[in-house]
Structures are given as C-alpha cells and as structure tokens.
C-alpha cells in the first residue's frame, strides 16, 4: 500500500477534499485525526449501529452494503459516514473493506467543529455531495 510508506501529511495533502488547506493546517489535521487500517472483509461502519465517524479512504477499496445488498464501491479519496453524522441517525449502510483499507477518521463528535474551522473542506464536501445527488437522480431506466 502506497500510504504505508508515504508520510501521513503528504498522503492527506494529495486528497482533493483537503486541497485548500495550508501546510500548517494539514499538519494540525494529521496530528488531530489518526488513521486506521482494516483487514479485507472487516466492517468499518455498521448499519443501524450508533456512534459512527467520518472516514476518508487513503488507500484500498470498500463496498457499501444495505440490507445485505451491495450498492456501491468506494476507493481512494472517497469518504463515507458523513450522512449519519449530519442527520444524527445511525448509519443506513454497512461499509466493508474489500481489500486492505486505510482511512483517516474524524470522530462523530468532532466533525462539526472541524468543518466550521475549515470551511474550504466543507465546501468541497458539499460539491461532492451535490455530484452524488445528481448522479443518484439520473434516470437510468
């Protein structure tokens, strides 16, 4: 995995979500929020279980599963867990690692303060959410 050898700050700097942060801000981000690596097949967040977090994939892949049905695949730069935190509801899906999966994690109780401190990250997050919403609304039938 590339991220295992790259410096954590450099790994974060390469993600579009954090593209507007200055180097000191990236350093503060790296010092504040750690990373976790999941084994293939390990569940990262769990449908209907309280207390999730906001996860940004640094390396590896994961699948989104709702009621046992796979709905999407996620890879480097993708993030998940935010809808549950923003709506204050338990996650509506399982996210399961499909390879060795490395993520940065912002705990649920720290996401709001972080986004308010870093509005550029919030704006980029909104842009991505808007694209997701538009993709979900495209008529494919």
């Amino acid at each position: 995995m590339e991220a295992s050898t790259a410096n954590y700050v450099e790994t974060l700097a390469r993600l579009s979500l954090f593209a507007d942060l200055t180097h000191p801000q990236l350093e503060a981000l790296a010092h504040s929020f750690g990373e976790e690596v999941f084994a293939e097949g390990q569940r990262v967040i769990r449908q209907d279980m309280t207390g999730g977090g906001f996860y940004v994939i640094l390396d590896g892949e994961a699948k989104v599963v709702i009621d046992g049905q796979e709905r999407a695949r996620l890879s480097r730069g993708d993030f998940f867990g935010e809808l549950s935190l923003l709506t204050d509801e338990p996650p509506a899906a399982d996210v399961i690692a499909t390879s060795l999966l490395r993520c940065m994690i912002i705990p649920d109780n720290e996401l709001k303060a972080f986004l308010l401190r870093q509005p550029s990250v919030m704006y980029r997050m909104l842009q991505i959410e808007a694209r997701r919403l538009r993709a979900a609304n495209v008529w494919t039938g």
């Binding site: 295992s4 000191p24 350093e27 503060a28 750690g34 279980m49």
Partner: protein, 490 residues
C-alpha cells in the same frame, strides 16, 4: 508459540497463555530482568495511573482491580494486587521503582519463565509459520505475539529536529536550571518534561500543531501532568507557554537553538531562541523487519495495524500485546478510544488474547459455564455494575452470553465488542460505554436471527448500574432471546 517481551504486556500475556494448556510456549526478552519500559520510564519517575491501596473491596478480589490500574491480574490471590504492596503512599500514583518491583514480583510469584537476554533480531516465514531469529538461536512457531512496547524514539521529518535530544535522552532536571527550554510536542511525554522542569527552567515553551483538547484533558489521567504547565499558560502566568504551531525547522547555533514555526490555530510566524530543545515527539514500536513480512502499519508507520483480537490486519498469525494494542481502536463509538495503551486496559486484552489464540490456533476450547434462564439478567447486571474489564475497557470489551438451541444460555466470557457485533448466532452482550455527551452508560446488545439490536440503559449519578430500573430495562432488552429458551426447555 513465542511471546517476545517482558514488560507488563509480555508478562501478562505469558502468564495467561501459560495457563491455557498450550503445550509449547517460549517467552523471550532482550532485557536482563522483568519490567520492560518501567525499568527506565517515566523519565521523571512518577506514573500517571492510579492505584488505591485501600478501596471498598478487598485486595485480591476481581472488584478491587477496578481501583488498581497498575497491577497485573492473576488467577490466584498471591498473584493479585501487587503494586499496592510496594507503594509508600507518598503520592496517589506509584513511583516507577514501585511499579518495577511489582512486575518483578508478579513474574516470580506467577512463575513466568522468560528467557532473558535473548534478543529477537529478525523474522521470516517458514512452512505456514514463522521463524524468529534471536541472539540465542532460532525459534520456530505457528503463532507469535510481540509485546515489544512503543518505546523507540520517533521524530517527525522536520529539518534540524533530528539533531536535538529526544525525550529518552533528556537530562536530569537540574541540568536545565536557569535555561530556556523549547519542548516539541504536547502530549504525555512533553508535559511530563514540562512539569518536571517547572522548578528548574527559566522559561518553558511547548509547541506542536495540535491544540490541547481541554475537554479531554480534564477527564484524562494525563491531567496529573498536564495541569500545572497548561494552567500556568492559560492564566497568563510566568514562564510556561503552550503554543499551537507547526515547527518548520530548528537551527543550532553556538549558544543554543532558533526555532521557526507557523501558527496552526492562529495566523503568523514565530521565531524563538532557546537554550535547549527537546523532542517529545512520541515513540514507535520497534517492529524490526515485520513490515517487510507484510505487516501493515498505522500512525505514520509507528504501530502495527491490528484486528479487534490484536492480530496483524495483513499477516495472520502475528499478534501484538501490551501498549501497542492501542492501535486496535475498536468501534470508536462517539470518538471514544480504549484504554489499551495503559496497563489497566491491556492486562485484560492479554487474557482475552491468550484464550483466543488457544481456541483458534490450538483447538483448546475454554470453559463456557451454563446459565439458567433466570440467572442471565442478574449475571449481566452484576457485570455492568462491577466488572473491571468493562469499566476500564469502555466500549472495547464486552461480557457475552451465547444462546444455543440445544443447551440454552452459556457465559461466553469477555470478548472485544467489535468482534461480537460482527459475529453470527443468537447471543447478547453488555458493555460500559460513553454516550454522545460523554456520559457513562450501560449498553445491551442482542443478536437474534441475524439482526443486532442495541439498547442504551440509563446513566446513574453514582454509576450504580444494578438498580431495579436497570434490571427491568435489561430484562426487557433480552426479551427477544427468551421465547427460544422456553421452547427449548418445554
């Protein structure tokens, strides 16, 4: 199998493994005596974790463990509660030497036979297992546990920082008399130094990118060290400053150092002269060649990534014990982390790990006592109220009761909660957790027909979780499991 290390994590793992019935276990250590990091650290000789020599429960009981965060846990009375035997009560936390003495005593009384001065030098795969190359020959094993501590100095790649002494090489406090000292880092070791130097140094500045989390600090065992230098800074007092800044470079000159930094929570640059600089930038696990074997690392390569049972996420058969277990964070519900980075947490992990290895790799199934249907609620209520495993490893360890169609309820012991919620089969579990507001609550999990239900029970101002209200709510939560039992018995 082989266990490497003779600090508290290695000793507890060796003790617990030695009582599982696994036929051939080798315990090796490069040190010459038990104690691990406590043979040398904390540098300024005082621990931060509490042992209460007198408590509401007798020493040696399971309940007493809750009041003693430093002793290892034994299966027999004479192996229990050893740290208070050595404390002189000069302070509410033990001295380093008292901790070390208790660990030596545990190894002696518990008959933990470690081959000392046998240094692990390298590792390779062999025939489905591993070969550990040591200073005393090769050890072949199917499973190995590395309890090697997190004690190697780690320094971030900041120009000039490599030339300043790390925490481990800091001098005695009197060396800093009348000097200005810049400490890079403001976590445990940084504040330990700051507090130790308060009576000696002329000026102390602690600097690192991350702001001190005041809300966390107030409830942390670290507060014992953090508070003096930090409150001094907050009050605008003299001689102690805590700065949120990314250190850009450190220049050495004839009379000392110049530190260049940029604010992280404030805008601007800082240039500061200091007589001394100390890098309290943390530690890494001395994993030697394990990454080349495929062991994935986290935290900037400082610790091995682990499953809820502390197995490498990428190399099955390699486990970790002791302080490094903190790299397995569990469910992180509401951001809560485990106590696996300290003795009170990882002593229980080591027991769970020993049983897990015995079952998974050696087919030695641990005893699972049966429980009558009407025993389940009082049993779990008692665990919620008093189990030291649940109270020290909040949100990480859970007490599990399995339900089998054929033989009813069985106490399945203490397991990682993350393992329980992802397993199958009808069962229930209880854990002590923090809710979203940071209040301690009992939580019940019921797995039935492939579905997991989660019930938060109410908090209590005195943390009494065995009230009538808790009993009733627990019984209601477990109701989905009861019809089966009734039909199984009819």
């Amino acid at each position: 199998m082989v266990v490497v290390g003779s600090g508290p994590g290695g000793l507890q793992t060796a003790y617990s493994l030695g009582r599982t019935g696994i036929p051939r276990c080798a315990f090796i250590s490069r040190d010459s005596a038990p104690g691990g990091m406590f043979r040398r650290f904390p540098l300024y000789q005082r621990l931060i974790s509490w042992t209460k020599p007198d408590a509401p429960f007798e020493r040696g009981t399971r309940e007493y463990e809750w009041y003693d965060h430093n002793s290892l846990v034994g299966n027999e009375r004479e192996h229990q509660a050893l740290v208070p035997e050595f404390m002189d009560r000069a302070f509410d936390v033990p001295a380093r030497s008292e901790m070390e003495a208790a660990l030596v005593e545990f190894a002696t009384r518990g008959d933990v036979r470690v081959r000392y001065e046998c240094e692990w030098l390298g590792t390779r795969r062999d025939d489905g297992g591993f070969v550990l190359e040591t200073s005393d020959g090769e050890y072949r094993c199917r499973v190995c546990v590395f309890a090697i501590g997190v004690t190697d100095p780690w320094v971030p790649p900041i120009p000039g920082l490599e030339a300043v002494p790390h925490y481990v090489a800091a001098s005695a406090p009197e060396h800093y008399q009348g000097k200005s000292v810049f400490i890079v880092g403001k976590r445990n070791s940084g504040f330990e130094l700051a507090q130790g130097l308060l009576p000696w140094a002329r000026r102390i500045v602690l600097g690192s990118p991350r702001p001190v989390d005041v809300a966390m600090l107030a409830f942390s065992p670290l507060s014992i060290r953090y508070l003096s230098p930090y409150t001094e800074h907050i009050r605008g007092g003299t001689g102690s400053y805590v700065v949120d800044a990314a250190i850009e470079r450190v220049e050495r000159h004839l009379d000392g150092y110049r530190i260049h930094a940029s604010g992280t929570t404030w805008e601007g640059k800082l240039e500061l002269e200091s007589d001394e600089v100390i890098a309290a930038t943390g530690f890494r696990a001395p994993v030697l060649d394990l990454p080349t074997l495929g062991v994935a690392m986290v935290n900037d390569g400082r610790m091995p990534a682990q499953t809820p049972y502390w197995e490498s996420v990428s190399v099955p058969g390699i486990f970790f014990a002791g302080n490094v277990m903190q790299a397995s964070p569990g469910l992180r519900k509401h951001g809560a982390t485990s106590s696996s980075g300290s003795v009170n947490g990882y002593r229980y992990n080591a027991r769970v790990l020993a049983q897990h290895i015995a079952e998974k790799h050696f087919g030695i199934r641990r005893e699972r006592p049966t429980l009558d249907g009407d025993e389940v609620v009082p049993f779990l209520l008692g665990e919620l109220a008093r189990a030291p495993e649940l109270w020290t490893q909040k949100g990480y360890l859970a007490r599990v009761v399995d339900l089998d169609e054929a033989d009813g309820f069985r106490d399945a012991g203490i397991v990682p909660l993350a393992d329980f919620v992802d397993r199958e089969g009808d069962a229930c579990a209880v854990a002590v957790e923090y809710d979203a507001d940071g209040t301690i609550i009992p939580v019940v999990y019921v797995r039935r027909g492939g579905h997991l239900l989660e019930h938060a029970l109410p908090p209590h101002p005195l943390h009494m979780f065995d009230t009538e209200e808790h009993r009733q709510q627990l019984a209601t939560s477990l109701a989905p499991l009861r019809p089966t039992t009734v039909s199984a018995r009819s």
